[in-house]
């Protein structure tokens, strides 16, 4: 009897500890998302109010956009080529190869262009942004900025947000154009579809609503990527898992990349379902 009561107490204790841990985790998540939202609101507020400083924005456009062009061109070309290859294989079975242009155009403009360009930017610029700001946090450079009465939101985050929102649609557009050319190379060059059918099919089936959807997606993705990646670095000191050194930065960067991927795919679904 006494043994059974002892067991019961142990089980109850474990249960309470489990619920406690879940509650603790929940509180932490709520707190972090609140901090990240506040950080976004503050940075957007600093970005839209004067004084504007164009030079850091230009530097960010250079870092996020101009230096990603080769990656975007290569991935865009191969995406267009593989889409054309796969669609050609399917369309041949139905005897409607002339639809290749519209298939490539629609899939690139609506879905593949915005999403894949965003994933490329996360890998190239997002991770670098997170680790850069994270190292500034553990080096106490951000505290130093605050000591000198320099607002880190205006100094560090606002130019990145503006740069990301400007660069992402442009990179997406480049991705789509290169993808269309890649599809042309495979469809017309390799499989011998008529060039007129390829382009006319594309012009006829892609409408302004598709282009608008791709554009809105890319702007939202740009904002999400820069926000999540810089917030993860900026709030590194709130990370409870400790390891405030190199390990902390690497963990924050990993989390930022994973969270950005999920956020982009989630936002992609939401925007598609709202606008379709």
């Amino acid at each position: 009897m006494g043994l059974a009561r002892g067991h019961l107490a142990v089980i109850a204790g474990a249960l309470v500890r489990g619920i406690e841990a879940a509650g603790d985790r929940g509180l932490y998540l709520v707190r972090m998302s609140g901090m990240m939202t506040l950080l976004l609101l503050r940075s957007v507020a600093r970005a839209v109010t004067p004084p504007w400083r164009p030079r850091p924005v230009i530097r960010q456009i250079h870092f996020i956009g101009a230096r990603s062009w080769l990656l975007i061109v290569v991935s865009g070309a191969f995406t267009g080529m593989v889409v054309a290859l796969q669609f050609h294989d399917t369309l041949v079975r139905f005897g409607t190869v002339s639809l290749l242009g519209s298939a490539v155009g629609l899939s690139l403009v609506r879905e593949l262009g915005p999403v894949l360009a965003a994933l490329m930017v996360i890998g190239r610029a997002g991770s670098a942004t997170c680790s850069e700001i994270g190292i500034m946090r553990i080096d106490e450079q951000i505290d130093a900025l605050e000591c000198m009465a320099i607002d880190p939101h205006r100094f560090l985050l606002a130019p990145r947000l503006v740069g990301g929102v400007i660069c992402q649609p442009l990179l997406t557009a480049m991705f789509i154009v290169v993808g269309v050319v890649g599809g042309y190379f495979v469809g017309v060059g390799l499989f011998g579809i008529s060039a007129g059918a390829y382009f006319q099919g594309m012009y006829d089936s892609v409408v302004w609503n598709d282009v608008k959807m791709g554009l809105i997606k890319s702007i939202v993705f740009g904002l999400l990527i820069v926000w999540i990646c810089s917030a993860k670095g900026f709030l590194l000191h709130l990370n409870r898992d400790g390891a405030f050194g190199a390990e902390g930065v690497s963990r924050a960067t990993t989390e930022a990349v994973v969270l950005s991927f999920i956020a982009v795919l989630f936002a992609d679904y939401v925007i598609s379902s709202v606008m379709a």
Binding site: L170, V177, S205, V206, W208
Partner: protein, 151 residues
């Protein structure tokens, strides 16, 4: 030298990106930067099943315009299709508008067949003779059930 590189890089990137964006918007998205040299025409159909905004309007197989708006007449329960036709194309008042499909599984489009009248349609007027979309399913069910009842 480094500064020039930065600015040159950003400038080239912006030019290339905006160029691509402009191509997508103008060529693919059909955003008319120049005023369109088109005029509107309407047509009523009993059913337009499958026809979408932006579908092409063809005459003799040549693309002469596109569908700009689709609406429902709430009194007659008919579909009102607004088309924009290229400026140079004049259509007789007994032109026939029919809804056709490209291939078997292709997009729906409007085929115009010229009439023989001397009177031409003015912008905003309505094409009187229309042929609705042919629904393969309806045809088949008609064939099956009518041949059943005939026996």
């Amino acid at each position: 030298m480094k500064r020039i590189n930065l600015e040159l890089g950003v400038g080239l990137f912006l030019i290339a990106g905006i160029g691509c964006l402009a191509w997508i918007a103008v060529k693919l998205g059909d955003v008319g930067l120049l005023p369109d040299r088109t005029y509107p025409l309407n047509a009523r159909f009993v059913s337009i099943s499958g026809l979408k905004d932006g579908a092409t309007v063809e005459l003799a197989g040549v693309r002469i315009g596109r569908v700009s708006n689709i609406d429902l007449d709430h009194e007659d329960y008919e579909a009102i299709v607004e088309m924009t036709i290229d400026e140079g194309v004049r259509l007789q008042e007994d032109t026939i508008a029919s809804i056709r499909t490209q291939g078997i599984i292709g997009d729906r489009f409007i085929k115009l067949s010229p009439g023989g009248s001397d009177v031409y349609l003015e912008p905003g007027e309505e094409i009187a003779d229309t042929e609705s979309a042919v629904l393969l399913e309806e045809l088949i069910s008609k064939y099956i059930f009518e041949s059943d009842s005939g026996k």
